[in-house]
Symmetry: C2
């Protein structure tokens, strides 16, 4: 399955120029993962015709307001829309308390159950896994505990090419094909080559989300060879010192991580409200890592699984 | 001073048809009072070119999300905009805990001080007073503790008409004029009539905010003769039973309160997301109280102090 990443918000702490706080929707097949949830995220989803009820997993990187303040309103909306499916929320220590405190004072009993998973910001851990995909955290380097997330499809099964498969093929031979082997007879002689009876191998897609963080080379091994890397770039190079002070990254910090990790593509975002024109962001990052694009609200970035 | 009420949001629990959660800005002179603060209120203020830094007093009626979830983001924005002036927040028990919990986990120390005033939802109390104005709570009848607010200008001093004042008038005579008396000589004979030397008396404006609440006649004495009454009208008459079940009001509930209180004008809002067309709201309410208007986002309602 391909991945589709929808940008719901790509600005940093202050909304500006029609740009909103961080939120992204990663979709693969009928699964929809919400990554961060700044204020007004539910309104953006509505605007882009995505029902909040399709989201079963929400990943919150850290507890700065611009990354989670839209969550509480979304939980209430899910309740009002009569959600009954379990909801899984992954976040730093404190997120559960923040949510439960507000549910308590509003005297709300939601129609659905929330399963909280507290992240350990100090280490990488697998926090979600299903039949086709797993999600692992990336320790980031920010002012407060903060985790990135990498979404990896599992290695895909070899698919038989039913049109070319001989009708009399044995179960033993099918087993050989599915293991990626050629089909052999009792003497080990190749009867069919694997590639002649199977479909081209589909790529297992991967996406990494790294925000907020200062430049930190320890991120690189976690995102090695990822298809698409989102790395925050709050500032242009001219504000390098300010980036360091505030534990944020510049354009070229993000690009260096992408280059050293051998990422397929880099998407940058989390722009400071001081910048109206984002063209210099792209130019600066592309000097270091040419295959860079800008996160733009409403935009969709696709990671194809075509071989 | 006249009052200007700016509607920032007038929908109930779910945003719909471009209508947002409850928030209003009441302005008089250079004072700006924010009443309720649904998600995205800061964006609406921005859209209407009102700086959040102009707000020094925030009144939150109750702790349902659609009435306060925009507050935390606004507090962070005030901090980022380098606010230093004290901020006063009036709200139910729990609001302070909700705010402090989130400040704690974000490890934020704001540049400014917040003064919390916990409301007593069971009784009417004066919660704010300055030289020209006072704010008193109104106990409302909702599912959770909820208070309305009435903003009353203090009775205004009589203003002398300097153009008509004789140059040789005595301080004693000025005292008489300012007390509303005619100027008399030692024998009690009228020398100048008060109205000839003073300007027309300006009206002391008043505004009452009642949301959320079911129909409750105990509200009436609190809002007696108010110039402008905002009373929630979540539902049309057809959903009267649903209004009662959810502790909300219908159009005619709101209109009856306005009529019985002798309000100057009624503005209704807090519309349920089930309604796209609001015309029937106006029609139903006007059957009971003709001087009714609809709360519309971006709209300004003026209470004039002209005599």
């Amino acid at each position: 399955m391909s991945f589709k990443l929808k940008i719901l918000g790509a600005n940093s702490a202050t909304p500006a120029y029609g740009r909103h706080h961080t939120a992204q929707l990663l979709s693969t097949g009928n699964k929809h993962f919400l990554i961060d949830c700044g204020e007004g995220t539910q309104e953006r989803l509505n605007q882009f015709n995505v029902s909040v009820l399709r989201i079963n997993h929400i990943f919150i990187s850290h507890l700065h307001g611009d990354h989670y303040l839209g969550l509480m309103g979304m939980l209430f909306t899910m309740h009002l829309l009569k959600r009954t499916a379990d909801l899984h929320i992954y976040g730093q220590r404190g997120l559960e308390e923040i949510i439960l405190t507000q549910l308590r004072y509003s005297e709300s009993v939601l129609n659905y159950d929330i399963h909280f998973r507290e992240l350990d910001p100090e280490r990488s851990e697998k926090i979600m896994e299903d039949r086709t995909l797993e999600v692992t955290t990336i320790p980031l380097s920010h002012r407060i505990p903060c985790s990135g997330f990498i979404f990896r499809e599992k290695t895909k099964q070899i698919r038989l090419n039913k049109e070319k498969l001989p009708t009399d093929i044995s179960l033993t031979a099918i087993g050989q094909l599915k293991r990626g082997e050629d089909v052999t007879d009792a003497n080990g002689k190749v009867i069919y080559k694997n590639k002649d009876l199977t479909l081209p191998h589909r790529k297992a897609c991967s996406y990494a989300f790294c925000s907020d963080t200062r430049f930190d080379e320890r991120i690189i091994p976690h995102v090695k060879n990822v298809d698409l890397l989102y790395h925050e770039a709050t500032f242009l190079e001219e504000k390098r010192q300010w980036a360091e002070l505030t534990f944020h990254s510049t354009t070229q910090d993000a690009a260096k991580i992408a280059r050293q990790a051998g990422a397929g593509q880099l998407v940058i975002g989390h722009y400071s409200a001081r910048y109206k024109d984002l063209t210099p962001f792209l130019e600066e990052a592309q000097q270091v890592f040419p295959n860079t694009i800008l996160a733009k609200e409403g935009g969709i970035i696709e990671i194809s699984d075509s071989p």
